[in-house]
Subunit: 437 residues, 2 copies
């Protein structure tokens, strides 16, 4: 039977998961795939820290060069992270004739084409199923299973931390700060949660998925991003009254030859599959011209779900499929399109608008008047009887409107004397925009 | 660029979809995959019938042997259907050195191993993404994306006709006959719907998925099956009052070295992702030891969703991945396990029980007494005030119990004088049995 030597560089949580699967499940993997993955090295600069997996001492090293120089290593698993040292390491591994498997979304989102080109020059492959939505085989679904389709839309929940926080706020009425603290206590959020809650992590993942789906070169700056830190529990509660659930969505649309790429809090209809994705789960809705909508849900993070995808990529390299994929598929093989980006002001969406207004006559007429002059049509209005007359929450949802018109209307409403406090704008997903699988 | 000649045998709905994709999207497919699929033949015994796609006359033939004899045909798409002529055809195509792509679930469920062995002897591949859940790339998810996992459970909605009928009954209160007539009027059900509503079609698909997931040899008779024809709208309504939605589920479990394989109407919790799968959509929840739960939803039938998966398989054969898959993966490469089947009486499930009883004292005590003696614990009771005292519907749900115990208890209750009419038993999915992704 064919064997394939594996060197793991980066002995953190994910590296531990990969080592555990290879050590504990080697026989089963060999029987299932006709190819035995053999762990040759686990490399890290810090080998002293306690780990949740027992790796035989002779496999441990702090010398990455030793891993790269060993001809018995056919696949290098890069679980270091970051877009500098890790990228150099992957390029060295490729140049040394190794196939590379990685979960590194930052490296792929920022320097993916450079890495793919290095793989092509070396005649090797770089596989990255674990970089987006951890355990969900979404890269394979888009790249292989749906390859016959012209893909027109991706809509995803790609960050488990944010989804956990929003789920907690929805189900318990917790504040953002309270839900974040809970997420930190459970290990679902970092001590510094900025990368997750700012939407930046989701942005990385959307850049990868959209690049693959549209076969396009995408710069991170092409992706508009809004995080969840400003979300008030009252908006989640008003949304619930209207039949909507708040999610941080990653959205990619291919419209008339241009791409709309964005990450922002979004209300999704409560009955839709996307609304049922709770806690740290991730989900992606993929729309293609032949297949229609397909929907994928699963764990978006975690040691073993991430390792599940990395080991699948190791097997793919071991039996030779990864190399064929790298040679053929447009985005990986260097045939990438440059597509224009649809400016944010040109997108069309439904909107949830919330205004703190004074309880006096003519308020609704004034606000509705501004909206009407900007060609924004009101879909529903929610105003409860006032508790404090000086500050009444008014909620308006709109039919589909142009983002630029909404921005102009809000700027005008901001100057109205009836406005007594905050003004909130949250985009909404209409059922026909892909909320249903 | 590499080109790959394709011969379609069977010019029905699915064959039309494949022809359309290849004829209309050839350039795009070539650019995306580095491999140009070229339609060489469309073969059918009846070429006169009008079709929804215009195939150039010179590609049409009624001689399957001509397709098999042409060295320019590298891939044969079998869209004839059935487990006799089609199987012979696929074996001839493999022997002639062609790779085969098929959507034929009957052939694979009944004679899969025979076909895989023929492919192995010929050094070719047989791919069948379209045979289960049409457009959802569920075969690739199980075979490639989740290959690192010991898979322990599959739970699926695999028949769009049944799901449409049950969705209609739930949302409109229609009778089974009414919903079936509606499905037939919309083209979602055949004039003779037996294959679908009996659960037989779902059984075929479960046999394929479970064989692949567990790497096992599965006979159709190993799969217990109950269809939906006996479902009464009142049970759907009582289930809804208790927070459950009725689905025809395909269930495969790997428990202590044995397989439990079954198809039956099942109540799933209303808030679960599975409950949101409506109309003709299909869905599969896959559980693995490393990844946990992943969930897949999409179109389970239709010309273009099915063609989407077939063309993905053509590309896989064209770039050489399908052959590597066929050589390596246990179920395809002839390394199939023989696993015992857990007898139905030994499964554990929750149960929905409905009894038409007389409105007299002691009824509940009598029934609950029988259940208790058989170690069946009551979870909830639903009994509305009687409209007709001679026949009151009593609904009882149970905690997890052994099927054999429930059967024995029901046999005993059947003989009680308090029973005035029908007695219904429907299995329920508990959240911990995989209702959540």
């Amino acid at each position: 039977m064919k064997t394939i030597g594996v060197g793991i560089i980066g002995f953190g949580t994910v590296g531990c998961g990969v080592a555990r699967l290879l050590l504990e499940d080697g026989d089963r993997l060999a029987a299932a795939t006709g190819c035995r993955p053999v762990l040759k090295y686990v490399c890290d600069i810090d080998l002293k820290r306690p780990r949740p997996v027992a790796v035989p001492k002779e496999l441990l090293t702090d010398q990455a060069d030793r891993v790269l120089a060993d001809p018995d290593v056919a696949v290098v698993v890069e679980t270091v992270g970051g877009a500098t040292f890790a990228v150099d390491l992957m390029k060295k591994a490729l140049a040394a004739g190794k196939d590379v498997v990685t979960a590194n979304k930052a490296a792929l989102a920022q320097r993916g084409p450079e890495l793919f080109d290095a793989a092509r020059r070396a005649g090797r492959s770089i596989s990255f199923e674990a970089s987006v939505a951890a355990g969900i085989p979404i890269i394979r679904a888009i790249r292989d299973g749906l390859v016959a389709n012209r893909l027109t839309a991706l809509t995803g929940i790609l960050n488990g931390t944010c989804n956990y926080i929003l789920t907690q706020m929805s189900s318990t009425g917790a504040s953002y700060a309270g839900a974040l603290a809970e997420a930190q206590a459970r290990g679902y959020a970092e001590a510094d949660p900025t990368l997750d809650v700012s939407g930046e992590d989701t942005r990385h993942k959307l850049a990868i998925l959209a690049g693959l789906a549209f076969g396009a070169e995408i710069a991170l700056d092409d992706v508009y991003v809004e995080g969840i830190a400003g979300i008030d529990p009252s908006d989640i509660a008003y949304g619930a009254q209207l039949g909507y659930v708040l999610k941080l969505l990653a959205i990619a649309r291919y419209v008339d030859g241009a791409m709309s790429l964005r990450v922002h809090p979004t209300f999704v209809p409560a009955g839709s599959p996307m609304a049922t994705v709770s806690g740290v789960d991730n989900a992606v809705l993929v729309t293609g011209h032949a297949v229609g909508n397909t929907f994928y849900v699963g764990p978006g993070a975690g040691m073993m779900p991430t390792a599940s995808s990395i080991v699948a990529d190791i097997i793919d390299a071991g039996i030779g499929r990864a190399q064929l994929t790298a040679q053929h598929m447009a985005w990986l093989a260097g045939r990438r399109a440059t597509l224009p980006i649809l400016p944010l002001r040109e997108i069309r969406s439904r909107y949830y608008l919330q205004f703190d207004v004074r309880d006096q006559s003519g308020v609704l007429a004034a606000i509705a008047g501004v909206l009407g002059r900007h060609k924004i049509s009101v879909a529903s209005v929610l105003q409860h009887e006032p508790m404090q007359p000086e500050c009444v929450p008014l909620v308006i949802t709109t039919h589909e409107a142009r983002e630029g018109d909404v921005a102009a209307a809000l700027e005008e409403i901001q100057r109205l004397p009836v406005l007594a406090g905050r003004m909130v704008r949250i985009r909404m997903l209409a059922p026909n925009q892909g909320a249903r699988a």
